[in-house]
């Protein structure tokens, strides 16, 4: 072991995403405090993770070295990056090679978006999914003949601007399937920046402070000249206004109503009792009457195992009726009981996030990032 240790190296959130998606083995030393680490961590099939707070390593990293594998890459992560550089530097000094720190920390991990092509549309346009891998949010961009529509945009609007520009498209429409409670919507900001139209279901928008276009069933929105159609389908349950979209007669964008391995929760606006019935009707009646060939594209994933090829998250509607645990309960009373017994904790800062999405408060960028830290917790089944 006479060879000098390699210096501390930087890993970006994008590089970490590729490692997670390729299921490469990676050892992570999470140096955040116990409660933050227990709340939310980096997940992946090849990831092995231990948590030792950096403040327990101020006087030496022996306690960490003992628990690291002998060789292979080690990634040190913290909230922003300062403490991971501090601990990573000490590991290198102690002679450990192949040590990385996560650039921008868990904040950058929470904000990273990975674009994935879902499919080509009939007129030659395309549908992309933007996977926010650290937090589990999914946004969509429909591009056709130089025009683009963005659905359930997250607040990192620069990513959508850059992507649309690369594709030679102008963002004409931004749409939210519902008033989000787990993350701050970028829809309104994006529409303001591009001079586009921001669409929101009116029943979710009763308390908003800004102008918007009403998303209503029967109002078809067109992207590009040869009309990629976005057909809204009123599908309440997660919120009273929740609206799904059928795109190109092929894709069903379900928002937070139906996920791949779970279903949406009805309680984030404090009205679980009222909305669980709507959720039941949407899942067991409205959606059931739609063509089962539709490809379901949700606004979230709950578990990292829901990510398929290249990170894409989707499933055939008919398959979900066979396998999704939330769709296997035929009696409404049983459904109500299952939902109420399986509600996870609320998403962090969800009240403030709703207020922000209604335009009632306007926190700065840094505060927005802090409000969003943590998992999305929008589904009934994932804990």
């Amino acid at each position: 072991m006479s060879a000098a240790a390699s210096p501390l190296q930087k890993m970006t959130a994008g590089e970490l995403t590729r490692r997670v998606l390729s299921k490469e083995p990676l050892f992570i030393l999470d140096v955040r405090n116990d409660s933050d680490a227990a709340d939310w961590q980096i997940e992946g099939e090849g990831i092995e993770l231990i948590n030792i707070p950096y403040f327990d390593l101020l006087e030496g990293v022996d306690a960490a070295l003992e628990r690291l594998p002998k060789d292979g890459d080690v990634l040190v992560v913290c909230a922003k990056e300062g403490s991971s550089k501090f601990v990573g530097g000490q590991l290198v000094e102690a002679g450990r090679s192949s040590v990385y720190y996560l650039e921008g920390g868990m904040k950058a991990w929470s904000e990273h978006l990975e674009p994935v092509l879902i499919g080509r549309l009939k007129d030659g346009g395309s549908l992309y999914q933007f996977v926010r891998i650290g937090k589990g949010c999914l946004s969509y961009m429909i591009i056709s003949e130089g025009e683009a529509a963005v659905i359930d945009a997250v607040r990192m609007t620069d990513v959508f601007h850059r992507f649309a520009a690369e594709q030679g498209a102008v963002i004409k429409h931004t749409l939210d399937t519902h008033l989000h409670a787990d993350h701050i919507s970028g829809g309104r900001k994006l529409a303001e920046q591009t001079g586009g139209t921001y669409w929101l279901p009116p029943k979710d928008a009763e308390e908003v402070t800004f102008d918007y276009e009403k998303l209503e069933e029967g109002n078809v929105i067109t992207v590009g000249n040869t009309s990629i159609e976005i057909q809204p389908v009123y599908s309440p349950g997660h919120t009273i206004g929740s609206t799904s979209f059928i795109v190109d007669n092929r894709y069903l964008l379900t928002g937070d109503i139906l996920f791949v391995e779970s279903i949406g929760r009805p309680d984030l606006a404090g009205k679980a009792e009222d909305w669980v019935g709507d959720l039941y009707t949407t899942l067991y009646d409205r959606y059931k009457s739609l063509p089962h060939e539709l490809i379901v594209l949700p606004a979230h994933f709950g578990k990292i195992t829901e990510l398929g090829e290249g990170g894409a998250v989707f499933a055939r509607l008919g398959d979900l009726y066979k396998h999704n645990p939330g769709l296997q309960i035929s009696a409404e009373a049983d459904f109500r009981r299952m939902v109420s017994e399986n509600l996870p904790e609320h998403p962090n800062s969800y009240q403030e996030i709703r207020q922000t999405n209604m335009g009632r408060i306007d926190p700065d960028e840094e505060r927005q990032g802090q409000m969003e830290i943590g998992p999305n917790r929008c589904a009934v089944h994932d804990k």
Partner: protein, 196 residues
């Protein structure tokens, strides 16, 4: 809750604008140089410092008192523990359990309670009506108390209150009782001058 007055502290540490790990590194350094029992106010703007300070205090045994936010600045209050604090030998012979004291309060008979913790600890939660005289000031301020009365003396774990009882007994107080374990386990009525 009334607006918090300025809490009395022994040290103030400015960590504004610093992000982790620096607030903890500097706090640790400052506390290494403080005397046991002293209280430090750590001013930070990094919101992550809240959970980190709490976690660090828990793991090191220092006492986290609470945090006040003022104009975007988080003020964390910590008290440096004595190494022997948790298992300190108690010498004052007359003790009362938390439950004894709680029963006395519930009976609504007149009672004198003396809280000998630091003002910052007291502000974050005390028994309603308790008199606050920090242990360090008791020598000079004992004359504020009536030596003939029965006095229940509390601190966090029963260790400082034990010293206070001995001090008062030496001064001729006849009926002082050390309340054990004290505020760390107190489940009776509580009054807060400032919220945690």
């Amino acid at each position: 809750m009334s607006a918090p007055q300025k809490l009395q502290v022994d040290e103030t540490l400015d960590c504004k604008g610093l992000s982790c790990p620096l607030p903890i590194v500097k706090t640790k350094k400052a506390m290494d140089e403080m005397n046991p029992g002293q209280v430090i106010e750590v001013q930070a703007t990094d919101r992550g410092s809240l959970a980190d300070i709490q976690g660090w205090a828990k793991n090191t045994g220092h006492q986290y008192l609470g945090t006040i936010e003022e104009d975007g600045v988080l003020k964390h209050y910590l008290r440096k523990s004595r190494p022997d604090e948790i298992k300190a030998e108690q010498k004052h012979p007359y003790v009362a359990s938390n439950e004894d004291l709680q029963a006395r309060i519930a009976a609504k008979r007149p009672i004198t309670i003396l809280d000998v913790r630091e003002p910052a600890e007291y502000a974050y939660g005390c028994i309603p009506g308790a008199n606050s005289i920090p242990l360090g000031e008791l020598e000079q301020r004992a004359n504020e108390l009536n030596p003939e009365e029965e006095i229940y003396v509390v601190c966090r774990t029963g260790s400082r209150s034990d010293l206070a009882c001995q001090l008062l007994a030496d001064k001729g107080f006849k009926r002082v009782r050390n309340v054990t374990p004290g505020m760390s386990e107190w489940s009776g009525p509580l009054e807060q001058a400032v919220e945690k």
